[in-house]
Symmetry: C2
Subunit: 338 residues, 2 copies
């Protein structure tokens, strides 16, 4: 026997107070089935009276809907996330779902093995951002037909999990073509972290566009910026110290662009006169850099809301679109041309 005599009230207490059965209380709680208006009022009064809160564990066990979806993502604090979340919640709240977040930063996937705290038995569905889950975890969800939508990551081979992402390659191509149009030829690329899919496509767009304009690709002009201002600052500083000539930097995201701008200015370079800089995402701070950052606008909020929409379909048992590709757009500010 367990010791659970904390002043918590249960559905039975509510039922007793309202002089109905627990089934009826459950019906009003879930707005399911028929309940007479008078009875419903009585039950609701009792609920308020006792400050009753349904026990989520018991609900899970009984197999009811949780009205809960989880978002799993690698790290917090990126302005990117703020927008993403806004989009996700927009779609979700309309359908009566709540959103819980789990951040995998600092957890090895081995630690998580037995204990991913958001999973198929305490949520109705999951949105997984970038590579925050291992392939085997995704496989497990797939095997169990558990609703999952991938954001900014295409599913591993063989798994049919819907995916929402943006036109990375096209966006990168627009950025690089613009740089070339401004007369730049020595265009460097600051990549994202190893294995990141967004970065992969952005780099491909960069390479293809160079090629299309007859500019040879030079590996010395590519460094890892890890989507981080600090890492990018170091990388750019290194280029300067090595005396590598660069007249433009295409950064795989806005954070890297920010670090690049800082490093360039430290090195006494004028932006955009000496070196032009273009970022990717158009996060909120992009207009606050000095000079304001030219960047490829990714419809982040829309991506979030589309992902949630697909998840909702899945949770309803409908089929979802397996790939949603959102268009990107070049936003020209002053970091690129006066």
């Amino acid at each position: 026997m367990t010791q659970r005599t904390n002043g918590r009230f249960t559905i039975e207490d509510v039922a007793a107070l309202a002089k109905v059965s627990t089934a009826t209380v459950s019906r009003v709680l879930n707005k399911k089935g028929q309940v007479a208006d008078k009875t419903m009022a009585r039950v609701q009064t009792a609920i308020v009276e006792l400050d009753y809160i349904p026990h989520s564990g018991a609900r899970q066990m009984a197999g009811g809907r949780q009205n809960l979806v989880g978002l799993i993502f690698p790290g917090i604090g990126d302005p990117f996330l703020a927008e993403l979340l806004l989009g996700i919640e927009q779609s979700l709240v309309a359908e009566g779902y709540e959103l819980l977040l789990y951040c995998t930063q600092g957890h090895s996937s081995k630690d998580r093995r037995a204990f991913l705290p958001l999973n198929e038995n305490n949520t109705d569905g999951l949105i997984v951002f970038a590579h925050s889950l291992s392939e085997s975890e995704l496989q497990r969800f797939d095997r169990r037909d558990f609703p999952v939508v991938l954001l900014h990551q295409t599913p591993p081979a063989g798994l049919n999990i819907p995916c929402v992402t943006v036109e990375n390659k096209k966006g990168a191509a627009k950025a690089v073509a613009h740089l070339i149009g401004c007369g730049r030829r020595r265009i460097a690329f600051l990549s994202g972290p190893e294995g990141n899919e967004d970065s992969y496509w952005r780099e491909l767009g960069y390479r293809e566009t160079l090629a299309a304009h007859g500019i040879p690709f030079r590996s010395a002009l590519v460094k890892d910026g890890s989507f981080s201002a600090a890492v990018s600052e170091t990388a750019v500083t290194q280029w300067m110290q090595d005396g590598i000539e660069i007249d433009a930097i295409f950064a795989a995201d806005d954070n890297s662009a920010q670090g690049a701008i800082f490093a360039l200015q430290q090195a006494g370079k004028k932006i955009p006169q000496d070196v032009a800089v273009i970022g990717f995402d158009d996060v909120s701070f992009a207009r606050y850099t000095m000079p304001p950052l030219t960047t490829v606008r990714a419809p982040i909020m829309e991506a979030g809301s589309k992902a949630a929409e697909q998840l909702i379909k899945l949770m309803r048992g409908e089929t979802a679109v397996s790939l949603t590709l959102l268009p990107t757009e070049l936003v020209i500010r002053r970091s690129c041309q006066e």
Copy 2:
């Protein structure tokens, strides 16, 4: 009867495969009680074999420890949060807890009434940041002796909930005193959102320091910046348009400072020559503004980790320190003096 015949395995399946009872499986799962080495090995093999995952709902019901704590906060995307989270996880992970996040942005507290998705029956404790929960919700936790720690918010009257925050008033005083020391006299203040406690103390520090130096307080020099670059930009632009003379701005946080810097530069002001700017928090981007931002460093990560420590004490049934005040420190960069 419910239809839960999704390929999910239960503890019984594991027990059957390992030829033991469910009690034994439970014991190895929770590392509780005695189990012979050979048996344990057999059970673990079975767990891996079936890719078994304990049902969290069932665990909650049976009254076991959840190994889960929740963080409730108002909005995501602030670099502030990234550091906070790091600190919290640091302490938590060491004790075997996982962290789930719930963001109240865009939920009225009325919506949440019955359904705060992180609560006393699915977590072992909660960390509540700033004013993300209503007083009545806190009261409920208090009545039920549920472990809660407040971050950057003192508890409502009558509730004995431990609180961790920083020396806002002292920090603000250092900032303003420094500005005055640099010869500034027309010092404006960009406040945080209405009702925010950090902002309240920072403003008080601002006022008291002015008074201590015989500088009269002028309400025209205080505007709401809402901890937001965009709002602050508007506010500062308004000052410029109104022709209010200002030779320094003390912003209640770094976001506001960033907006202020931008607005000032738009208006053709030189920083720091014409107007000095000081922020608060020392978030990661503070050194990337141009000029780099002088700011009051709040030990955000430490605050997170202290909060988690107090929560752990509470969850163990020990008593926690009711108020932890962390020291702040002025970080001088170039936005303040060449």
